[in-house]
Each structure stands twice: as C-alpha cells, then as structure tokens.
C-alpha cells in the first residue's frame, strides 16, 4: 500500500491543482490495475463494505493506546475524524509489511463474517504493521470518507491524461452502479460494454450562482428561465424495462420514491430525464414546502401514510436521452422542446410533470417573477442559455442559479462551542437568541459565514468572556450581535422557540448594533406566519 499512501501524501501536501493532477496521472500510469480501480472508487466516494463497526475500532484503539474511552472521545471531538484520531493515539508499529492496496482491502472484506475476536486480532495486527500515512489510509479504508482535496473532476482529468480517453467520456463511464469488487480496470475504464449497466446515469450539469446582475449575462432572448425548486435533484432513467432514480450525489434513490415506478406506464423506454423530486400537492397542482419532502429524506422504505401525506413526483426540466439516443450535445431549446412534447400530453396524475418554462421579455420582468419565488415554493430562478449543450459537471457560463436573497434576523450570541477538524482550535459553533420580553430565547445555531480572521477574533473574545462551561459549550454574555441569514422557516415542536430555520448562517457581525435592538421572538413568529 506504500504506493497508494505515497500518492495520498503527495495529494495532501500540495494545494496546487497542477501538482495533484500530475501525481494522480503518474499513479494511474504505473499502479497495478486492481489498485487503480480501488483508487478510482475511493476518490469517487465509494468504499469497501464496512466489516468492522466504528464503535469496535474506537474501543480497540483506546485500549491499545491505554486511554479511557471518555478521553478517546474528547480527542475524537477535536480531530473530527475517527481514522485520524486512531492513527494519532496509537503507539508506533513494531514491524512493517508492504502489501498492495487491493490486498489490504481484501483482508478488510474477508472480515465480514469473522468472529469479533478474530476481527480484533486482524485489526490490531494491521495497526502494528503499518507506519505513518499507511496506517492512516488503512483506517480510512475501514471508516470511509476519503477527503484529500481531489474532486472527481480532477481525478477524471488525471485518468484521462494517463489513458488518452476524453474527459467527458470518462466522466460518464465512471458514473453509476459499479463497485470495485465486481468490475475491472478494463471493464470500467478502457473497454466498457455500454449495455453492461443500463442504470448508468449521465454526469449532472451543475450551475453557478449569479454573481451580481443577471443583466450582465447578455441579451435576455438568449436565455430561458424556470423556477429553482427546493427539492432533491434527480435523474430518472427508463431503460430495459426498468426505471432508476439517481441523486446528484450518485446515490440510487429508486426505492425511496416508489411513486416513480409508474413512469414506465407513461413514458417510453430509452428516456432519461433531469428534474427535481418534490412533494406534490395534487389539489393545488403545486409543490409542497421542502418540510414535507424532508420527512422522506433518509428513509430507505416509505410507510403508506407518508406516501399520502407527501407524495413525490419528478418535476422535469431537461431531457438527456430520447428514444435511446444521447442528446446531451443538442441545444437546450431543442432538448426542452422534446421534453415538452414527451411530458405535456401526460395525464395530471402522472408521476412526472413538466416544470414550467418562465417566459420573460427582459431582465426586469424576470426580476419581478423571481421576487415571487417564495410564494411558488421556489428558491429563485434558474437561467439556462438556449443554445447550450448539457455539460458534464460544473462548467461556468451556460447555467446559472439566481436565488432569492435570504431571510434575515438580527440576534445575539449566547453560547459558543469549539469546532472540530479544520476548526479544532477555534470557537465556531454559536447559539443565537432573540428577545421575548426581558428574556432571551435561543432559536438557532449557526457556524458558517464568518472569515477565519473573524472567527479568530470571536474565539479570543469567547475565551475571555466565558460565564460558564457545559462540557464543550461555553456560555457567554449576550453582547455580540449577528445578522443571521436563512432560506426558510418552519414550525417546530422540538425547539423552545417554536421555529426551525433552514440553512441558517451568519451574514454579518453587527458591531454597530446594541443588543437591546436585536429582533424579537414575535418577529420570528411573524416570519413563520408569512413564509412558513
């Protein structure tokens, strides 16, 4: 595993993209095929099946390091990564062995059915045989989550350099349902059989946020607009008598949204649609709020009651495959026309509906439409250049999201907690409150939006102004006022304030605002009334 660990170290020791690409391309040109497949898998978020639980790993590591469990946990809390924590607390290995990445993974997989004692012995033996980065990498193989600052795009580019296969083509080949256990480097990369995986999705086209004025994008007539929905991005694939629903994170969601099985009754095979999964209010013929859909997120199977409370549909906005033909290179206007032709005639109870086109004559008109997004349960509008192809990934220029400005409220910080991982030595997680009469009611937490310099300043202040400690949390005097931005507000019975915010973050540190002048709980309830 030395070669892979060296690659990992090189990637980890530079912030420069060109150096990362070169290191990866070098690896892909020289590593054994089996290792290459695993490397692609790891860098695209796939990992070996977990054969040892994280609890077991933590216990064995604490025991080996001679630490009480509470201290191991306190350490983990600071490091923010189990694999790294284990690596840091363990004593140095007594021996070393150089085996390939795939061999070590083979060992880990072989533990699936082993007795606990055998697992323990195997893991302790590995910890005692791997030095430095190799041991950290080994822990990462078990616990997952290989974040090395290498995007899938960068990995694909390097693989392209090593194999002379065009990047976009490679991006498509690497999508979908494959696992390193069941494929080979040839089948996956160099010589794939297009029929082998009917479920394989296309790489999603992603948008950037409009930077200042939409008008800066040029003549309005070059653009098409639609609502930006607050749902789950999905790609629906109808091929070979089956349907598949993929999330943007390349997760297969087919079973989570059984409603979409009926798409096969309405649409021909050889169809691939890009759209948004939303909870649908059939009476209003409009999407429900995200809160309704939220109940279905994270559920592998759906109880019947939820299917009636929050029935899902796919709100379609692009067509990628039509009659079995990949039409991504065709202009958006043509793809959209074909999509309209396919979906518009469907009955109102079809599980796939057409996300409406928003016609506009000029940018001012669209700005007015956008201002009404919240009432339409949308987050803003999407802009797509009429003559643009469907790009693979996030390519600047042809797709833009033009979101509404967030809702805001001025609040005071009352608790602070140190972050972990990247923010281990800074106070970054804050609890905020608003006035209710003479009392302060906590209503949200937020931990992003400030610069590092601001976090340093507030950390300095928190250390000097701690009133009380509750474990890792410090109570501070209510003096620091922040403008909190959020995307939505919902009723909540779990919170004392009665509300829950969506995507709360700090927009500004209001040094200018005295705590007496922050917003009130009544104001929050008004917002709930208006936007909830």
């Amino acid at each position: 595993m030395r070669q892979f660990a060296d690659l990992f170290t090189t990637l980890d020791q530079t912030t420069k993209t060109s150096r990362k690409t070169a290191a990866l391309a070098g690896y892909f040109s020289t590593a054994p095929d089996d290792d290459k497949v695993w490397t692609i898998a790891l860098l695209s978020g796939r990992r070996p099946k977990r054969t040892v639980t994280v609890t077991q790993l933590a216990e064995w590591a604490a025991e080996k390091a001679g630490l009480p469990m509470w201290l191991f946990r306190a350490s983990y809390d600071v490091v923010g990564d189990l694999a790294e924590t284990i690596h840091l607390v363990l004593p140095a290995p007594e021996q070393t062995r150089d085996r390939s990445l795939s061999d070590w993974i083979g060992d880990i997989r072989a533990l699936a059915k082993a007795e606990e004692a055998l697992k323990r012995e195997a893991i302790l033996d590995a910890w005692n045989s791997l030095a430095g980065a190799e041991r950290f990498v080994f822990n990462k193989l078990i616990t997952g989550g290989f974040r090395v600052g290498v995007s899938q795009k960068l990995m694909t580019r390097a693989l392209g350099q090593a194999t002379d296969i065009p990047e976009a083509e490679l991006a498509h080949r690497l999508m979908g349902n494959w696992t390193p256990e069941t494929t080979s480097f040839a089948a996956l990369v160099t010589d794939p059989d297009p029929e082998a995986d009917l479920s394989r999705p296309y790489p999603f086209c992603l948008a950037h946020g409009v930077e200042d004025e939409a008008a800066a994008l040029g003549p309005a007539e070059d653009w098409r607009a639609e609502w930006k929905w607050d749902g789950i991005r999905g790609q629906l694939i109808l091929r070979g008598g089956q349907h598949y629903l993929w999330s943007r994170g390349e997760e297969l969601m087919t079973d989570r949204f059984p409603e979409l099985a009926r798409a096969l009754d309405f649409l021909p095979l050889g169809t691939v649609i890009d759209g948004e999964v939303v909870a649908w209010d059939a009476d209003a013929r409009a999407p429900m709020s995200f809160a309704a859909l939220q109940k279905r997120i994270g559920r592998k199977t759906v109880p019947k009651s939820l299917l009636t409370q929050a029935p899902a549909i796919l709100y379609a906005y692009d067509l990628l495959e039509d009659g079995g033909e990949d039409i991504r290179a065709k202009p958006f206007s043509e793809r959209r026309a074909r999509l309209d032709a396919l979906i518009a005639p469907l009955l109102a109870d079809a599980p796939v509906l057409l996300s409406p086109d928003l016609p506009f004559d000029d940018w001012d008109a669209l700005a007015k439409t956008r201002a009404g997004a919240r009432a339409a349960q949308a987050e803003g509008v999407m802009l797509k250049r009429a003559d643009s192809p469907y790009h693979a990934g996030r390519k600047k220029g042809d797709w833009w999201k033009w979101k509404l400005d967030p809702l805001t409220i001025d609040a005071v910080m009352i608790y602070a907690q140190a972050g972990h991982g990247r923010r281990a030595n800074l106070y970054t997680d804050f609890t905020f409150a608003v006035w209710k009469g003479n009392d302060l009611v906590p209503f949200t937490k937020a931990y992003s939006g400030l610069t590092d310099a601001e976090f340093r300043k507030i950390t300095h202040w928190v250390r000097r102004n701690t009133l009380a400690r509750f474990g890792p949390v410090r109570q501070v005097p209510p003096e620091q006022v922040f403008e909190i931005g959020f995307e939505g507000i919902q009723k909540s019975t779990r919170h004392k304030s009665g509300v829950a915010l969506r995507f709360p973050r700090m927009l500004r540190w209001r040094h200018d605002k005295p705590v007496q002048e922050i917003d009130t709980h009544a104001h929050l309830l008004n917002m709930l009334e208006e936007y909830g």
Binding site: D12, Q13, T14, T15, K16, A65, L67, P68, W70, L71, F72, A74, S75, V78, V79, G80, D81, E84, T85, L88, V89, G149, H420, G421, R422, R423, A424, N425, L426, D452, A453, R456, T459, H460, R463, R464, T466, R469, G471, P472
Partner: protein, 334 residues
C-alpha cells in the same frame, strides 16, 4: 494559598505581586515575552535575565529587571526564583515559596530539548500551575532530528525546482528554532521584518543564530531564488507574500499535527514543530514536580484536569487569559 487567581491574573497576596497578569498591576513577574503573558502597562516588571531584552523590545520603555535562572530573591518575605521552561529563549517557570509551601507557575513550557532554548528543568513543588495547550493524547511530537530532515527535504526539493520555501513560524521563538533546525548549506535564509527584529534582539544577548537576510522592499529576490523565507504565519496569506511567486508554503506549529487545521490554513506543508509540551511531556512534567495539587490554565484544560484527577491528583481548572497557541494569534504587521 500561596497564589490566588484574580481578575487581573495570578496573584501572591503575601508577596503583593502578580505573575503574567493581563491587567495593569504594580509588580508583575513575567514568564516570557509572548504577548499573552507579557502585557503592557505594569509599573514594575521582573523576568529572567534571558527574557528581559525581548520583553523590553516588545513593550517599549518599561521598568524591567532580569534575574539569572535559579537565583532566589525575597519579595516581601516570599522567596521567588526563575527556572528554565524550554519554551523560547529566556522562558521561565516561576517558583514561589512562602511559609514552607512551594508553588510553581509553568508559563508555557516544552520538556524536550532543542538547539535554542535553555532546556526545561523540573522544579519540585506542592502545587503546580500548568499550561496544557496540547493536553490531549493525539499530540505526540517527533524528535527534532526527524523534523529537521523533513524541513530540509522540503526546502531542498523546492530549491532544486527554483522555488522559494516560505515557512510560517511565530516571530519570537518558533522562527529562530526552525532556523537552528535547518541546514544552512542548502541556501540563504531570508527573514520577514518581524522575525529579523527579534533575531537582532536575541543576537545582541549572545544567542547564536544562522546568518539571515532581512527582506526589504529593494532586496533583489532574483539573487536569492530557492531561499528559505521565514515569516509569521499570518504574513503568508498577505499581499506581502506575493513577491515570492509560485513559492511552496509551510507552517511550523504543533497544530499541524491535525490534518484539518493544516487544510484550513491552506498551506502545502505542515511541520509539527511545537514549543509546547505534548501529551507525554505534560504528564512527565506534572509527575516530576511531585506536586499533588495541579491547576490547568490554558489549552485542553477540562480533559487534562479529568485525566489528572483519575491519575490521583487534586486537579482544578483556572480561567486565565493566556492564549491556546500563537498560530492563530499573530497577525503580521502590514
């Protein structure tokens, strides 16, 4: 109590003096020159002889007296002495004895020797007031020889590729420590003004440092391509650093042991060079004092306190205004 914990800092009521106070007081005993221990505004300062020049350099026109290590002085019937803390040149632990009871304030300390600071010397006491900046078992420092090899290897590679190696290191202590760790035969060492100012103070008191070149606006960088550039960590992210083009950037700090912190700093390389004790060092130090009462002042105080309690000590947390580490504290002057 020989020492009390007040809003102004650690106080000796019998001797009527403070130790490392953060608010202006009449008489301050100061462990070392870092800004979170040596505050401005006190009427009289007393430090180790080795720390006094830097404190004067940083705080300007102050009334300060330096005392040799291990020498005892009577202050209002209290016996006081300074002992090496191994943190930065001149850094001291302060021993305070009154009525047969001995208390020691550690200041910041490091128990392993380096080529720069007077090595840490344990002092027996009844009560030990200790820092614990790195008071978790995840912090386990490697020896200086390994670290030197790592930094030299990085510098050598960059030098061969015609790039500058920019190393972020706190201007008092860490910067000089890394200078004494690297191999000066690789190339020239250039220094940021804040670092070079400290170098001058230390050299004037007889501390040997390798040859360095102060970076000034008219310094011809082309004549020094491949040099090691030593600057405060904050300077690496500032416009000041742009002159050095496609340089490789590294940071020397104990925090670099954590991958996440290194990634947040967006440095290419993190070198785990600390001037604080690691977990083993803290534990060894506490043991060597023979103290039964321990006060943890700054760092991972809660965890270290609980650990000490489970080890059989009478351990308490004391709230102080000492910083946890200087990585985040120093903003380089523009």
């Amino acid at each position: 109590m020989v020492l009390e914990f007040t809003e102004d800092g650690i106080y000796c009521p019998a001797g009527r003096f403070h130790i490392d106070p953060w608010r202006p007081v009449d008489r301050a005993l100061v462990t070392h020159g870092h800004a979170d221990h040596a505050y401005p505004g006190h009427r009289h300062y007393l430090s180790s002889a080795g720390a006094a020049p830097v404190i004067r350099h940083r705080l300007g026109d102050i009334d300060i007296e330096g005392m040799p290590y291990d020498e005892t002085r009577d202050i209002n019937g209290v016996r006081v002495s300074f002992h090496p803390a191994g943190h930065v040149p001149g850094s001291a632990q302060i021993r305070v004895e009154h009525g047969g009871e001995v208390w020691v304030v550690s200041g910041d300390y490091k128990t392993t020797a380096d080529a720069l600071s007077e090595p840490w010397a344990p002092v027996r006491c009844h009560a030990f007031i200790t820092e614990c900046t790195f008071g978790l078992p995840i912090f386990d420092w490697r020896n200086d020889a390994e670290l030197s090899a790592e930094i030299n290897g990085w510098w050598q590679t960059n030098c061969a590729e015609g790039r500058f190696s920019m190393l972020g290191a706190y201007s008092l202590g860490k910067a000089q420590r890394v200078m004494t760790m690297v191999d000066p035969s690789i190339g020239p060492i250039l220094t940021h003004g804040a670092v070079e100012n400290t170098n001058e103070v230390l050299r004037a008191q007889g501390i040997a440092l390798p040859q360095t070149i102060r970076i000034t606006p008219d310094l011809d960088l082309k004549a020094h391509v491949g040099a090691l550039v030593v600057a405060p960590p904050g300077a690496l992210a500032q416009p000041w650093a742009r002159r050095f083009g496609q340089a490789s950037q590294g940071i020397a700090s104990g925090w670099m042991a954590l991958r996440g912190v290194r990634r947040r700093r967006a440095a290419d390389r993190g070198f785990v060079v600390s001037d604080h004790a690691d977990w083993k060092g803290l534990n060894a130090a506490v043991k060597e004092t023979g103290a039964s009462r321990i006060f943890t002042t700054h760092g991972y105080t809660a965890a270290f306190r609980q650990w000490l309690e489970e080890e059989g000590y009478d351990a308490q947390i004391v709230e102080t205004e000492y910083g946890d580490d200087l990585l985040e504290a120093e903003e380089a002057p523009a």
